[in-house]
Amino acid sequence: MTEYDVRAKALKDAVISCKVPEILKAVEDAKADGMEAVPIIEIMSEAMGEVGVLFERGRIFLPHVLSAAAGMNKTMEILGPELKANSTGNEKSAIVVIGTVEGDVHDIGKSICSTMLQCGGFDIHDLGRDVPKQLFIDEIKNGATFCGMSALMTSTMMVMKDTIDIIVEQGLRDNVTVMVGGAPITQVFADKIGADIYGESASETTEKAKAILNS
């Protein structure tokens, strides 16, 4: 194992520990050893993916994921000046409007998803639950390029189609990637209503959104 590999593993382990002080110490050590900002961030981003997998498997929980994300955020503050100096101008981010659809008051699955998307670097506008269709439209008009809709009930899942129909009617469809999820939702349903992304889990949704953002 090279010295670089050892340092990379230390960084990765620190992120997976989900402890902010350990993450910051690993970053300081990596910098002291001469590692540049970009590879540090790349290694940590990869480790955040593993944090997401551990969360999905029930090995760690939401506060742990957020602690890891907080460590990432503080790292970005520390490395910000160096990253800015090396910036190519090609870095991408996006606004995600997300909510549980009108008539459905189930909040937790959607909240976990919005939290994971935030950890994935998206700018989250979480509208909560029982969200009127027009609020999604307003957010898209104001610049959201991803629209995430959640439903837990078979009786509310068709509201997703109604919302997509309004997006189409108002000529906004090309501006936005529509994501749908929730217990009754399947890929078949997502295809049927014309959604772009179906996520079976919060991590899967985040990965698919990142793939579209970076495509």
Binding site: R57, G58, R59, I60, F61, L62, P63, H64, L66, S67, A69, A70, N73, G103, D107, I108, S111, I112, S114, T115, Q118, I124, D126, G128, M153, T154, S155, T156, A183, P184, I185, T186, Q187, V188, F189, E200
Partner: protein, 348 residues
């Protein structure tokens, strides 16, 4: 399929899905796998050509029921069938005299602890009247539903909102404060129903707001058991594992986040409940064979370690049943038979 779609599968595809679903469940819950013989039996039941599939005489299990009689008079989008009836008395009599239920629950239409507290006097009068006209045991029921204690419905800040602002300690504090309030409200309701001789309480859809709600409910059950040693207490879950929204909440010295049914039941037992209702979520993208095998392996271990009766949740979206408004009867019968024969459940 788990979303109610009809698909054609070969026997080999069904066998493959039974193996895959079972392996997924065993891995997720970290429980022993089913034997080849058990999986072959599941396949036989899934492939049974009869429309009505059931257990042999003598192997029937008892039924308990959540949400009381509200399923009659609520509209379809509230999971009801829209039959005009007085929610409490008419429904109880129908369940006793038409459906021959073993026990029944009475519940306020807004089926949660917080709103039930506000109407408890109304509920007690109804209980007194119902108990004069029925012979089956009647328990009161409600979901702990701790979500109602958080903004925008309650006094405490929403933990997931706080987490998105990286206010993790504040988020945990909000969960703990809401849990204390929920435990107190459970205590108030249980004390009041005891005054009129109510037989017990069904804590339904427990832990829907995560680990803090589970702990609050366990504490509530513990307190209820102290004030009524004879009470008949059922605790049913909302999902197969306890969501770690707080992450560190403990009961009996154990962190409850991430617990699966075989771990949950030990705490429910310790708190003093009489019946545990495990849940295994249906994956709407997978086949019935995959889902029911997954349910069987998870529930079997729960039943094995439990010292109290286990009544598995069997209905739309849980226990292998598809997530659609009208689950097909032949699917429901097969799920019940598999969970009785393979997972050895005491009730449904």
């Amino acid at each position: 399929m788990g979303d109610g779609r009809r698909v054609r599968m070969t026997k080999q595809q069904i066998i493959d899905d039974i193996h895959a679903g079972m392996a997924d469940g065993a891995d997720a819950a970290r429980v022993p796998e089913l034997s080849e013989e058990e999986m072959e039996r599941i396949c036989e039941i899934v492939c049974d050509k009869n429309k009505i599939v059931s257990v042999e005489p003598g192997k029937e299990v008892v039924l308990s029921k959540d949400a009381g009689t509200t399923k009659f008079n609520m509209a379809n989008n509230g999971c009801g069938v829209g039959i005009p009836s007085t929610g409490l008395l008419d429904g109880q009599l129908i369940y006793e005299r038409c459906f021959a239920f073993d026990s029944m629950e009475f519940a306020w239409m807004d089926y949660s602890i917080k709103p039930t507290k506000a109407v408890i006097d109304f509920m007690l009068i109804n209980y007194e009247q119902m108990s004069q006209m029925t012979t089956m045991p009647l328990v009161m029921g409600a979901m702990p539903n701790m979500g109602l204690y958080f903004a925008p419905d309650g006094p405490h800040a929403n933990p997931t909102d706080l987490m998105r602002e990286f206010k993790i300690e504040e988020s945990m504090a909000a969960s703990e404060a809401a849990a204390d309030q929920l435990t107190n409200d459970i205590g108030y309701i249980c004390e009041r129903i005891g005054e009129v001789g109510c037989e017990g309480f069904d804590f339904d859809t427990t832990a829907s707001a995560g680990d803090a709600e589970f702990v609050a409910t366990l504490r509530g059950i513990e307190n209820y058991r102290k004030i009524d040693p004879e009470a008949y207490i059922e605790c049913g879950m909302s999902a197969e594992n306890v969501l770690g929204i707080h992450g560190s909440m403990e009961y009996d010295g154990k962190i409850v986040a991430g617990m699966y049914p075989h771990e949950q039941v030990k705490l429910v037992e310790k708190a003093g409940a009489n019946i545990f209702g495990p849940v295994v979520n249906t994956n709407s993208s997978r086949s019935f064979a995959w889902n029911v095998a997954r349910s069987a392996v998870i529930v079997k271990e729960c039943e094995k370690v439990s010292n109290i009766p286990v009544h598995v949740n069997l209905g739309m979206g849980v226990g292998g049943i598809p997530m659609c408004e009208l689950p097909p009867t032949d699917i429901v019968g097969r799920s019940g038979k598999i969970l009785i024969e393979i997972a050895n459940v005491d009730g449904i």
